[in-house]
Amino acid sequence: MVVCLLGVWADPVRAPHEHEHDHGPGAPVQYFRPPPSAPAVAAASPAPALVALPTPVVEAPLAEVTPVVPVTAAPALVSLVSPAVAPPHATLKPIASPVAPAPATAEPFTTNMPGDFPEPPYPRWARQQGLQGNLLVLVEVSSAGSPISVVIRESCGSTALDDHAVVWVRQRWSWAPGPPRRFLVPFIFQLQ
């Protein structure tokens, strides 16, 4: 808990109350596969409720496989596929994906949403320290199209790299005007 509190202290954008916004029915609790060695569930013995949650553990080899999300608005954002669901206690081995994963390329991030979504750079300090990882950002967009709040839903393990993505989205991304919307944006920072 100390860790969490410090994380909050170190990063004002990570307001804890923001987390409760996005756990509607069917909303994914986790997007990226937890590390195979992390006994996350076993360690959390005081919370048996966790086991009962329909936590989709999805093997996303190159993050092209997305867990099920009810499509509410804005169709044709992503092609959704049936998730390969594994029980939380199952050994987290790669699960064959129902669709062939497209190779992750260095092509810029594209979407057919109207707006401006420049891809963030890979910061030099992160490359110097060899930081990489996957993170998930929740963005609330105003009717004017600007991000009202940008928070981390899943951390990549480095607060600094999380913040880099959050600040980038908040400062550089803009949507076309429309109704207030919310988006989950996965970021994959990969060194080669």
Binding site: V2, V3, A10, H19, E20, H21, D22, H23, G24, P25, A27, V29, Y31, P34, P35, P39, A40, A43, A44, A47, A49, L50, L53, A63, E64, V71, T72, A73, V78, A104, A106, F109, T111, E119, P120, P121, Y122, R124, W125, A126, R127, Q128, Q129, G130, L131, Q132, G133, L138, S155, G157, A160, D163, R181, R182, F183, V185, P186, I188, L191, Q192
Partner: protein, 665 residues
């Protein structure tokens, strides 16, 4: 080298999030998931650009090497030795080349200290603030110097942030037994709006060095340094300013002699992204420095060396045209070097250097690429009229001008996804420096009477190198072999004893050996190898076995006599691993004896050094902490460094323990 993979999940967070999920029964709008934004980056050292360094140290690798001098930081790399002038002053030597032949730059501009003039003058850089050490070779090195046979060392710090920096505060304390080290450094960085800032400071003291033959007097030191920088960063690029200072007092083993060093430096740097279609970026840098050091004899300033100057550069990074990428630019620098005091061995000089350079990489068919570069300089050294100890060294002001031109070409062929080979050809020219041209007097640092030659021409050489590297797989490593042939190499040649100037009112220097700067034809050849067998490799447990070695021979081609102070080579083996969160390394290196000697040089015996190190990352009251422990010279071997000027009086440090604790808030 595989980058450490971060843990992607905090179990506590899942727990908290899941608990919240149970409470939050309804939501107005379910967020839509967008396609993943894949941000691909090249690991530091893995870039293939016109300016990519041959070798880069950064992150944990560099942090674990947190040594006291730059020479020691790099000394483990095959091909690199340290000039080792006591525990406080050590400049790297690459492939037998040192001093002005091995340029050390700070963020791309000259460090503007006096370290190239004499081995006892410390490089004015605190190894703790350095984020990245680049060793550049071949065409990329021409960006910084025209003398590139050994390469160029470029040190990067974050004093002028080039991008938004994550908020961080680091406290680093170290203690050592062999040199009585007590060091504390602080560093804080972060961003406020469009501004990024950096602040660092350190205090370090050492006691007289403990060696197997006892404590060596007059080797203690006391240093303080600080730096502050701020820049505005944005989509346009960045522009920033920094100020830094260093004060250091240290002994150089001479009884009663102490050096007091002081440097203050302003830096301006900036970059503009894509100013026109033809350019990827324009970046500019300017460093203005005021450096001086005094050699105190029994507390009284004997002579004072001052270096006041500036160095600026502008780099144009060209937009890729077809398969060609490149950087072209201009560099310009001026400095006044003066020596005041009884032991002056140099006149005051004004030094000017202007350069135009370019470095390119072009992808060819069949998985190969060509790198090439050029650098043309205009160098001028002007010396004031100079009379000292009744000796008229310069009756009137004198000056010498040179136009060195250097070229480098390297052909890189990827033999397979794992193997690559590089063939490099280099032609370098270097203008003689103020010391080689105008020295005439007793030099306390080298304990010699040095005499320069105002009629010296350019130093000239050609070099060829073949490298074979395996970059991936359980077995990785590289092997290279080189031959550097100088038609004119400026060497210090023994020439009897110093003059007796008592008749003209000076001192008697006949007790000092006299060394003249002369141009000789010289050959350098050698080989370097490093092989790592990764026996076991996963995220939590690693085990590897490493073999490394280097060898260099340098001789005067006319006389077949060896050139002085060459570390002949070594063979080493290291076992390293990671287990239960502890990283460790055990290494042993056999350093060859040096029996190929210059006139008046003494032989150096071979020796074996064994060392061990240990590192552990943990949480200390919720703070990221790293503990390091290093054991050096485990068997307390009496060892002499062949490339040190003072090896006969100062052996390498004896058995020692050094412990460090780093806290990241």
């Amino acid at each position: 080298m595989s980058a450490p993979r971060l843990k992607r999940f905090n179990p506590l967070f899942i727990l908290a999030a899941s608990a919240l999920a149970v409470c939050a029964q309804e939501k107005p709008v379910t967020p839509e998931k967008l396609k993943a934004v894949v941000v691909k980056g090249t690991s530091i050292g893995g870039e293939v650009t016109a300016v990519s360094p041959a070798l880069t140290l950064s992150g944990k690798v560099l942090a674990d090497l947190s040594q006291s001098t730059l020479g020691d930081v790099l000394a483990d790399i095959p091909g690199v030795a340290s000039s080792y002038f006591g525990p406080n002053s050590g400049r790297p030597i690459i492939r037998g080349l040192e001093g002005d032949r091995l340029k050390i730059t700070q963020n791309g501009t000259s460090s503007l200290d006096a370290s190239s003039a004499s081995p006892d003058h410390a490089v004015s850089v605190d190894p703790l603030t350095i984020r990245e050490v680049q060793v550049l070779r071949g065409p990329a090195a021409l960006l910084y110097s025209s003398s590139i046979m050994g390469g160029v060392i470029n040190l990067l710090d974050n004093r002028i942030p080039v991008e938004r920096l994550p908020r961080s505060a680091t406290l680093f304390g170290r203690m050592g037994s062999a040199d009585g080290l007590r060091a504390l450094s602080v560093l804080t960085e972060g961003s406020l709006g469009d501004f990024a800032y950096h602040l660092d400071g350190f205090n370090k003291t050492t006691q007289d060095l403990s060696t197997p033959i006892g404590r060596i007097a007059d080797t203690a030191s006391d240093s303080q340094g600080a730096g502050f920088g701020v820049s505005r960063v944005g989509a346009f690029g960045y522009v920033g300013l920094s100020y830094s200072g260093l004060n250091s007092t240290y002994g150089v083993t001479e009884p009663g002699i102490e050096i007091g060093l002081r440097q203050r430096r302003w830096d301006l740097a900036g970059s503009v992204n894509a100013p026109t279609a033809a350019l990827k970026s324009i970046s500019y840098k300017l460093g203005v420095s005021d450096y001086e050091h005094s050699e105190f004899a029994a507390g009284v300033a004997g002579s004072t060396f001052a270096n006041q100057g500036w160095d600026g550069r502008i780099d144009f990074e060209l937009t890729k045209i077809g398969s060609l990428e490149g950087v072209v630019g201009l560099q310009s620098g001026r400095f006044d070097f003066s020596v005041v005091g009884a032991e002056a061995f140099l006149p005051t000089t004004r030094n000017a250097n202007d350069a135009v350079f370019g470095s390119f990489v072009q992808a060819l068919a069949s998985a190969s690429r060509l790198r090439y570069g050029f650098r043309v300089e205009s160098a001028k050294v002007s010396a004031n009229a100079w009379v000292h100890e009744g000796l008229v060294s310069n009756p009137g002001s004198a000056s010498a001008s040179f136009t060195p031109a250097s070229l480098a070409l390297a052909w890189v062929k990827d033999l397979s996804p794992e193997w690559a080979t590089t063939l490099s050809l280099t032609r370098t020219e270097r203008a003689p420096n103020y010391q080689e041209l105008f020295a005439d007097g007793p030099h306390v640092g080298t304990d010699a009477y040095e005499v320069g030659d105002g009629a010296l021409g350019k130093e000239r050489g050609i070099g060829i190198e073949l490298e074979l590297a395996k970059t991936r797989g359980a077995v990785s490593g590289s092997f290279s072999i080189y031959y550097n042939r100088f038609s004119s190499f400026i060497a210090q040649q023994a020439n009897g004893q110093g003059p007796d100037l008592t008749l003209t009112g000076g001192d008697d220097h006949s007790g000092l050996a006299r060394f003249d700067f002369v141009a000789v034809p010289a050959d350098f050849f050698g080989a370097e190898a490093k092989v790592n067998y990764q026996l076991h490799d996963n995220a939590t447990a690693k085990l590897g076995l490493e073999f490394f070695g280097d060898f260099v021979r340098a001789s005067n081609r006319d006389t077949s006599e060896a050139l002085p102070r060459i570390s002949p080579g070594r063979l080493g083996v290291a076992l390293h691993g990671l287990a239960s969160g502890w990283s460790w390394r055990l290494d042993a290196a056999y350093h060859l004896a040096q029996n190929h000697l210059a006139t008046t040089e003494t032989p150096t015996a071979g020796y074996t050094m064994v060392g061990a190190s240990l590192g552990h990352d943990f949480k200390l009251v919720g703070t990221d902490a790293r503990f390091t422990l290093r054991l050096t010279n485990l068997f307390d071997v009496e060892a002499r460094n062949a490339s040190s000027f003072i090896k006969d009086t100062l052996p390498l440090p004896g058995r020692g323990v050094e412990a460090g604790l780093k806290l990241n808030f």
